[in-house]
């Protein structure tokens, strides 16, 4: 899923400083599951903004809505009336959702309430980890199902650097596991350590962001 995290309250308050009629729109997909922008978080943020405004002696009218998926037009259209009726739309979706509303309603001010972080997995209650970099050329079959592009701090393809100690990455030993220790352990378990002796050639990054913003086109389903 796409994992996101709410921006600091002050940054959000600065965005809505002069706003008197605010619409907060959550999303029921990834950001709801990672507890950043679902119904509960929308209501929580609405309360925090109201309290802050009250302290400043200002009035604000806040409407709360949650789309099923903010990355698809048909779901955004369901709240068209509310979008058109507010000064500022504060989206609690990922960056994709924010951009879709901004594109669909060109004359509206649409602001992000979240920082979109990565594609990842929940590891434990309240903790998510980056797992896939979306590089466009999946090689998980060669690395025991552990991605060195997304999970090694230096995206090394030929083994661990000198900063791997006790299974941890020197960049943040408390929080980052060395991806290459994980790959090595898994390949050992699979009896495939020999595969790691092969020199991985320089990767083509053109399937990644380095080929420019990407599009997926499936000719067989186009109208």
């Amino acid at each position: 899923m796409i994992v996101a995290d709410r921006k600091p309250l002050q940054e959000i308050l600065d965005m809505v400083e002069d706003c008197e009629k605010l619409l907060i729109v959550g999303c029921n997909a990834c950001v709801a599951i990672c507890m950043a922008g679902g119904e509960k978080e929308v209501s929580e943020l609405a309360s925090l903004v109201k309290i802050a405004k009250k302290k400043q002696g200002k009035n604000i009218e806040i409407t709360e809505r949650v789309t099923e998926r903010q990355c698809e037009e048909e779901f955004v259209k369901e709240i068209e009336k509310e979008i058109k009726g507010h000064d500022i739309i504060l989206s609690m979706a990922c960056g994709v959702g924010v951009q879709l509303i901004a594109k669909m309603y060109e004359d509206r001010l649409v602001y992000p309430a979240l920082n979109t972080k990565f594609m990842g997995l929940p590891e434990e209650q309240g903790q998510w980890a980056e797992t896939c970099a979306g590089c466009g050329d999946c090689r998980l079959a060669d690395f025991g199902g552990v991605c060195p592009v997304a999970r090694c701090s230096k995206n090394l393809l030929n083994g661990p650097c000198g900063g791997s100690v006790d299974g941890k990455c020197e960049v943040d030993p408390d929080n980052i596991e060395c991806a290459w220790q994980l790959i090595f352990d898994k390949m050992k378990l699979l009896g495939q350590v020999d595969k790691l002796l092969k020199i991985e050639p320089a990767k083509s990054w053109k399937t990644s962001r380095d080929g420019g913003p990407r599009k997926v086109i499936k000719e067989d389903v186009r109208l």
């Binding site: 701090s153 230096k154 995206n155 090394l156 393809l157 030929n158 083994g159 661990p160 650097c161 000198g162 900063g163 791997s164 100690v165 006790d166 299974g167 020197e170 960049v171 030993p173 060395c178 290459w180 220790q181 090595f184 352990d185 350590v193 790691l196 002796l197 020199i199 991985e200 050639p201 320089a202 990767k203 990054w205």
Partner: protein, 305 residues
């Protein structure tokens, strides 16, 4: 001869080689580099110029290499994969070779979070093993990675690093083997304090016969103080400092003298290992101690070949 460098000549002749690290300044001070080159001259076969070590901005290693060449010291430029993509790296290799550089050490590079620009974007377009392959391709196949022919190829003696102290230990030998297969002519190791762990690694290296396929130079660092030893033990990943050395440094009356003694004892033990073909002295901001170390271990004068 692959490069005709002095380092290559010394190693091929079977002499025990001596290299040392020369950290370029955090400024445009040419005199700084000249002074250190003059200290090292005639005591080392070549001097390594670090490439923005620990991700701290310093004078370019290639520029510093040209300065020490003018002083009569042969450079080994270090190239990390952190700051440049394959286009910039190949361009720098051609430029360095044109300026007279004949030895290049290929390294991954410290993560930028440790340096003075933690907000920077890292590159890691290629890794250190791919960089070794790339240099070999440029030199031997006369081609750039994209396939175009190089009319005047860079004649480079290709180096790579090895860290026997990082984990997983077994992978450290696989890494070395991959570097050798990629084309590493020589290897310089991380600084060695923990001889037990180093011996374990070296035994695995010798079992695989890897020491016969490349020239391994063992890295050593003279410690200046107990605090430095403690810092290296606790804060530098991939460096192992045994308790015994910490104790010796803590109780030493003259810590600098003790640090040099420890360094010399380590070198003497390393010299006895058959698969070790030289030493690489990394005296961090203490280059003026290098002549004393080289003399005391009986490696002075250096061979004139």
């Amino acid at each position: 001869m692959k490069s005709g460098s002095n380092l290559e000549t010394v190693l091929n002749s079977g002499e025990f080689a001596v290299t040392a690290e020369l950290g370029p300044p955090k400024s445009a001070n040419k005199e700084f580099v000249i002074k250190r080159a003059q200290i090292l001259k005639s005591y080392v076969d070549a001097a390594n110029l670090t490439d923005n070590q620990t991700a701290i901005v310093r004078m370019s290693s290639t520029a510093a290499a040209r300065i020490i060449l003018d002083e009569g010291v042969e450079p080994v430029i270090q190239i990390t994969c952190r700051d440049r993509n394959r286009i910039a790296i190949q361009s720098d290799v051609l430029g360095a070779a044109a300026l007279g550089v004949k030895n290049i050490l290929c390294i991954t590079g410290d993560h930028q979070c440790f340096g003075n620009h933690p907000d920077s974007k890292n590159v890691f377009d290629i890794d250190s093993i791919q960089l070794v392959s790339l240099l070999k391709m440029m030199r031997d196949e006369q081609k750039v990675l994209g396939g175009d022919t190089i009319k005047t190829p860079p004649k480079i003696f290709i180096g790579a690093a090895a860290n026997p102290f990082a984990d997983p230990l077994e992978f450290r030998v696989i890494r070395l083997e991959k570097k050798i297969n990629a084309g590493a002519d020589f290897i310089q190791t991380q600084c060695i304090f923990d001889l037990n762990r180093f011996s374990k690694w070296m035994n695995m290296v010798e079992d695989k016969g890897l020491d016969k396929k490349t020239h391994i130079l063992a890295g050593v660092t003279p410690i200046k103080s107990y605090n430095m030893a403690k810092h290296m033990a606790e804060n530098v990943s991939g460096v192992s400092v045994p308790q015994e050395i910490l104790k010796r440094m803590e109780s030493a009356k003259d810590p600098k003298e003790e640090g040099v003694n420890i360094c010399i004892e380590t070198i003497e033990k390393l010299k006895k290992i058959k698969g070790i073909h030289g030493i690489h002295i990394m005296a961090v901001q203490w280059e003026d101690i290098i002549p004393e170390i080289v003399k005391r271990i009986g490696l002075y004068p250096r061979p004139q070949i």
